[in-house]
């Protein structure tokens, strides 16, 4: 036993105190790491929502219900369907400032053999589509054939498996990465496949709630706006000129989500700050209380030849060990909580939630570790100072 080994020995001999202090540091690390994970997941979620919506403007039928349904489908994930005449597509394409216009066909089902939850089927036109195919390409190289589907990450079934839609076994060729948006619950297919599904369903005697021919009727038109045009202006133009259609700039759709995200982020930020300050204050106090009891121990060390520097070294080293222990525990706990309750958090917050990639999570972990490793020893500084200044003669006289 020497002064170098003494701190570890002290910690293991005072397990209760060690664990208590480590828990406080763990709380600091937990809040720092968990908070930053949640914050960045929210940021990712909103970013992903914007990216996945893809279109600058979405055109839907001009009924109040279809507006609500569109929101439900894209933001809240409730399957829905609504239709307008296919001629809208050509009219939209003719509007000034529209660079690309591509139709989508929405079909919802309660009867899919695959899942207990309702599935949203989204049919797209491979020739003009610019919103779905780019991210299908990222996970699956080729084109989608007849009765082939790409599924969102929340749909059961791996690539190579089949999914039964209206009695038709459709091959899953790819599963998309998690987006944190409601499109994670959707199934994507070409309009040709959708038409086949509808025909099969009718033949087998269980037609979908609504079964309109994708050639005649469409649900939405996805619009890419040409450079130099303002999506909001183009949307207004479409609404004005195309009968029976209502156009909305996606920026406007996501801005309401972004608003609630920033509200939530603000609350979480304040909460984090409060917990942090409290835990740090308690840590300082507990370190100091523990220090008082130890005055005699340190006086003895001084009598047998320890310098003041040695004494503060012992205190700081103990704090470093405790902080390392607590930081690792807090980071692991935060990781487990955020990953395990990912879905619950998303449901509770009601906004898109997408955890960052492993590299970013590791970076945050390093950051949280560093923060805890600074906070713990800093909290012990008061106590280190006082204990190193212990008046050995005085303390040992107080028998």
């Amino acid at each position: 036993m020497n002064l170098k080994k003494l701190p570890l020995n002290n910690l293991s001999h005072n397990a209760g105190r060690t664990v208590g202090l480590a828990i406080l540091v763990a709380l600091l690390a937990f809040v720092a790491y968990g908070g930053s994970l949640v914050m960045s997941s929210l940021q990712n979620g909103i970013g992903s929502l914007e990216a996945r919506l893809g279109a600058d403007v979405i055109v839907a039928p001009a009924t109040a219900k279809s507006q609500q349904d569109l929101n439900d489908i894209l933001i809240d994930g409730v399957p829905g369907q609504f239709y307008m005449d296919a001629s809208v597509l050509d009219e939209v394409a003719g509007i000034d400032g529209v660079e690309v216009a591509s139709p989508q066909y929405y079909l919802s089902t309660m009867k899919a053999g695959c899942c207990s939850m309702p599935v949203q089927i989204i049919g797209f036109d491979p020739a003009t589509d610019f919103t779905v195919q780019p991210w299908i390409e990222r996970t699956y190289g080729g084109d989608l054939g007849l009765d082939q589907v790409v599924v969102g990450c929340n749909i059961t079934g791996a690539p190579g498996a089949t999914i039964k839609l209206y009695g038709v076994e459709c091959g899953i060729v790819s599963k998309l990465e998690k987006t944190g948006t409601k499109l994670d619950n959707a199934v994507f297919a070409t309009n040709e496949t959708v038409r086949h599904l509808i025909n099969e369903a009718v033949e087998r005697g269980f037609p979908p709630d609504s079964h309109e021919d994708p050639a005649m009727r469409i649900s939405t038109v996805q619009v890419k706006v040409a450079d130099g045009y303002d999506p909001e202006v183009v949307a207004g133009e479409i609404t004005l000129r195309v009968r029976g259609a209502y156009a909305v700039a996606t920026r406007a759709m996501t801005s309401s989500v972004a608003e609630s995200v920033s509200g939530i982020a603000g609350v979480i930020g304040v909460l984090m700050g409060v917990i942090w300050v409290l835990a740090a204050a308690v840590l300082v106090v507990v370190f100091s209380i523990a220090g008082k009891h130890r005055a005699k121990e340190f006086a003895v060390l001084r009598v047998i030849g320890a310098s003041r520097k040695d004494l503060s070294g012992v205190v700081v080293k103990e704090a470093v060990l405790i902080s390392a222990l607590g930081a690792v525990a807090g980071i692991v706990a935060a990781l487990v909580v955020v990953l395990a309750f990912n879905g619950a958090l998303e449901a509770a917050l009601g906004v898109p939630f997408l955890t960052p990639d492993i590299g970013t999570m590791a970076l945050f972990a390093v950051g949280a570790f560093a923060v805890a490793m600074v906070a713990g020893p800093a909290a012990s500084a008061v106590s280190a100072r006082r204990l190193s200044k212990v008046d050995a003669g005085q303390v040992l006289r107080e028998e």
Binding site: M1, N2, L3, L6, N9, N10, H13, N14, K296, E297, A299, V300, L301, R302, V303, I304, G305, A306, S307, R308, K309, D310, D391, A392, G393, Q394, L396, R397, E399
Partner: protein
């Protein structure tokens, strides 16, 4: 009389004391000239509160005098910086403080070897520690922890700890408190033979028996060393 080892010149300690209607400084230890010589054992006795521990702490490099100096072989202790004085305490002084001062997180033998290992490599010092414990009659407690010891056993651990680094000057503040007569005799004999081996030894004690082992007996009263008994 052997070589002078440790010497105080006019060393005194003033403390601040509050009274009901006034507050003032008083001399816990009045200006004192005292010498400890190699090979000698000095007993310091006196009523409780007379300033014995205060004087001992000043001489042991633990408490800076308000005035005056403490010198070891001509070196003024309180002119050294903290690191140097600490090292000097470790290498040349052995202190048996008043009361129970074994460290609770260390076993008995670890308590005894700690001062040695603080500035030196482990060169089998444990066997020397065990030998000291053997001489003090507590060899069998080497692996116990202080909380398991009786008051007297704990005192003897501190005696062994003070002797571990073979100090030139040994300070003992009531080393035989809590000890039965037989153990008291063992400890006093040990201190005596340690002085005979060439160390300067200062023993603060109320123990009558100690005077038989002393070269000089000093008596302290209200901070003043009164007479040589």
């Amino acid at each position: 009389m052997g070589d002078i080892r440790l010497e105080t010149q006019g060393a005194c300690k003033k403390f601040f004391r509050k009274r009901r209607d006034s507050a003032q400084y008083f001399d816990a230890v009045a200006p004192t000239d005292l010498q400890l010589a190699a090979g000698e054992l000095v007993v310091l006795k006196g009523r409780s509160g007379s300033g014995k521990t205060t004087l001992l702490n000043m001489m042991a490099g633990l408490l800076e005098p308000s005035e005056g100096t403490v010198t070891l072989d001509g070196q003024n202790l309180y002119e050294l910086d903290d690191a140097a004085l600490s090292r000097l305490r470790n290498e040349r002084f052995g202190v048996i403080p008043q009361g129970q001062t074994a460290l609770h997180s260390l076993s008995v033998v670890q308590n005894v070897t700690l001062p040695y290992l603080m500035y030196r490599d482990d060169d089998g010092c444990e066997s020397r520690a065990l030998e000291l414990l053997e001489n003090l009659g507590i060899r069998q407690l080497a692996d116990s922890y202080p909380s398991e010891l009786s008051g007297g056993e704990s005192r003897r651990v501190c005696v062994a700890r003070a002797l571990m680094c073979a100090p030139d000057v040994l300070f003992a503040d009531e080393p035989t408190g809590n000890l039965d007569d037989a153990s008291t005799q063992v400890v006093l004999e040990m201190l005596r033979s340690y002085a005979d081996a060439g160390a300067a030894v200062l023993v603060v004690t109320h123990e009558q028996m100690a005077e038989e082992y002393a070269d000089h007996v000093l008596k302290m009263d209200a901070g003043v060393i009164e007479a040589r008994a």
